[in-house]
């Protein structure tokens, strides 16, 4: 067999080797590579390889292909082994074990984010719809601007006691239930006209005022000017006669920057004095209707008079800025007078004549206060 093969090889160019001889060559190479040849044959073939380059090429080429086949089978085997190892692993518990919490959260988030987004939207819509339907937004003037009317709920108990006390001993007709909101108001005239902030009496069913000694009077709203946050009230209680002549006057020109001012109000059930100075001639966000005053005020101070040292009313406390200390605001007396002028004549039941005689000038602060305190009222809104 080898002889015929050699003959062919030597007598022909390798390119012209016929089908049969190629078959013989490959068989020979296979046997050679597999070590199936006898040592004699093997040696002979090696010599042949050396002598004939074409055969050597063929051997190398065949060897390469066979090694690729071997690689293929080894890899197949390796993959099969790995597959069987993988089957024995408890991947599930590994996943749980090796997963950091954040990833679990991330995965849950990925999975449920749409649901939570929908839920959140519904919640938001519900909240806003509720707020809208309950009129919450209409009460908001500004996010960091607070009106100083007092919500009474927190003080229900103490106030209840006081009111009960007064109503039994002095004014049985007075309201016995605690007010919903409260503020401050002060007298405009001796015949019972009072002034307060319009936001204090907003949404009121009925309004009572109570003076420093605890007398309660029913009042009615004569005029409201939300633009200047001013409301004019009049005492309509049959038990009311007269306030006596007012000690203070109203200053048309208003206060100057840096002027010392003070206010009396009802942040709680007793009159409280607060003093400070005019810190700016404009109010919140440059509002020219108001001053900024550096006075510590609280809920319930709204509607209180802002007085200068000479006993002139220069403004009405109406608000303070949230998250800022000492930034309170007061409507200028100029606008108070403007508001008075714009009251329609026929809504006035009695003449509204402002006091022009100031009896506070030259008095000490304590003496001024003694005179003023009877004219500053707690406004109770029901």
């Amino acid at each position: 067999m080898l002889a015929t093969f050699e003959e062919i090889v030597f007598s022909n160019n390798i390119k012209n080797v016929k089908m049969k001889s190629e078959f013989e060559l490959i068989s020979q190479i296979d046997a050679y590579l597999k070590g199936e040849l006898t040592p004699e044959e093997h040696a002979k073939f090696e010599v042949l390889r050396k002598e004939n380059q074409a055969i050597d090429h063929k051997v190398v080429e065949h060897q390469n292909f066979i090694s690729q086949l071997a690689d293929y089978s080894q890899r197949k085997e390796l993959m099969a082994s790995m597959e069987s190892i993988h089957q024995t692993l408890d991947v599930k518990s590994m996943v749980e074990e090796s997963l950091p919490n954040s990833v679990i959260v991330k995965r849950l988030w990925n999975k449920y984010r749409i649901n939570s987004a929908i839920a959140a939207s519904i919640a938001l819509i519900t909240v806003f719809a509720t707020l809208l339907s309950t009129g919450y937004f209409s009460k908001l003037d500004s996010s960091d601007y607070e009106s100083m009317r007092r919500k009474m709920e927190v003080l229900q108990k103490s106030q209840n006691a006081i009111i009960n006390n007064f109503s039994i001993t002095k004014h049985p007709k007075g309201p016995t239930s605690p007010a919903q909101f409260g503020g401050t108001g002060f007298a405009l005239t001796q015949n019972g006209y009072l002034i307060t902030n319009s936001h204090v009496i907003k949404g009121a069913d009925s309004i009572y005022v109570q003076n420093s000694v605890g007398d309660s009077y029913k009042v009615k709203v004569i005029y409201e000017d939300p633009k200047y946050d001013i409301a004019i009230l009049r005492i309509v209680d049959p038990g009311f006669t007269s306030l006596g002549s007012l000690p203070y006057t109203f200053k048309k020109t208003g206060a100057d920057l840096g002027e010392d001012v003070y206010t009396l109000g009802f942040p709680r059930d007793e009159q409280v004095l607060n003093k400070g100075y005019v810190s700016s001639l404009t109010g919140y966000k440059g509002d020219t209707v108001a001053y900024q005053v550096d006075i510590p005020v609280n809920f319930g101070n709204s509607g209180g008079p802002l007085l200068d040292n000479k006993g002139n009313v220069v403004g009405i406390i109406n608000a303070k800025q949230k998250r800022a200390d000492g930034a309170s605001f007061a409507v200028k007396s100029k606008y108070l007078l403007k508001a008075l002028d714009s009251i329609p004549e026929d809504s006035l039941e009695a003449k509204l004549v402002l006091n022009t005689k100031n009896s506070l000038r030259g008095l000490s602060r304590t003496d001024q206060l003694k005179k003023i305190q009877d004219y500053v009222f707690m406004v109770k809104v029901y």
């Binding site: 078959f23 490959i26 068989s27 296979d30 597999k34 199936e36 292909f65 066979i66 690729q68 086949l69 071997a70 690689d71 293929y72 089978s73 080894q74 890899r75 390796l78 993959m79 082994s81 790995m82 190892i85 993988h86 692993l89 991947v91 590994m94 996943v95 074990e97 090796s98 997963l99 950091p100 990833v103």
Partner: protein, 200 residues
């Protein structure tokens, strides 16, 4: 490169850690074709890769695929004889998997920006290039064998892969003499070559 790399991801359970084979054990085992080595290698390092893939927007199957691929890379490297222990085996596997996973993410068109970049990776680019070449050949061969059909496929497998003798094959397929079997084997091989180089 030191031997003391610490990876955040290497928090694997303790009982697995205790059976981690030494790197030399693994290399010897690979060279000897030890099944036990493969088993240890697999159970020791798979959790680490699983965690990496899971924390970078992949799932268990992705982890399995790329881990097995990295083992193939390792085996080829060791068998060719050029595996030098420049780095820890663990680092090598991790680096290979990391690159493979990045590539796969890019292929999927996913954002790869937030894949954790680890400070200590070893350069495996050359290994991966070689692997790619081998992988191509493997797939070609797989395809060629698939097209080859029976009985050729089995004859080729028996003779060249399972190292059976011509005599055995002759008996198995019931050829009357071994020359017939040889002719058949030859024809099959020629066809396989043709199929293999055709698809190139």
């Amino acid at each position: 490169m030191g031997y003391n790399f610490e990876y955040k991801v290497l928090r694997v359970s303790k009982e697995i850690k205790s059976s981690v084979p030494t790197d030399n054990e693994v290399i010897l085992g690979i060279l000897n074709g030890s099944k036990d080595t493969l088993n240890k290698l697999y159970t020791s390092y798979f959790p680490m890769i699983l965690q990496m893939v899971l924390s970078n927007s992949g799932d268990e199957d992705d982890a399995k695929d790329i881990f097995q691929e990295s083992v193939i890379v390792l085996y080829n490297k060791v068998k060719v004889g050029n595996f030098e222990l420049h780095s820890k085996l663990k680092t090598f596997i991790y680096s290979v998997c990391y690159r493979l996973w990045l590539k796969r993410l890019k292929f999927k068109g996913k954002n790869t920006n937030n894949v954790e970049e680890l400070d200590k990776l070893v350069a495996v680019e050359n290994d991966l290039e070689q692997h790619e070449e081998k992988d191509k050949q493997f797939k070609q061969m797989e395809k060629a064998l698939q097209f080859l059909g029976e009985p050729c496929k089995t004859i080729i497998e028996d003779y060249y892969m399972k190292d059976r003798s011509m005599q055995e094959i002759c008996e198995k397929f019931g050829y009357t003499n071994s020359d017939n079997a040889k002719t058949q084997k030859y024809k099959c091989l020629q066809r396989l070559k043709k199929l293999f180089f055709q698809t190139t």
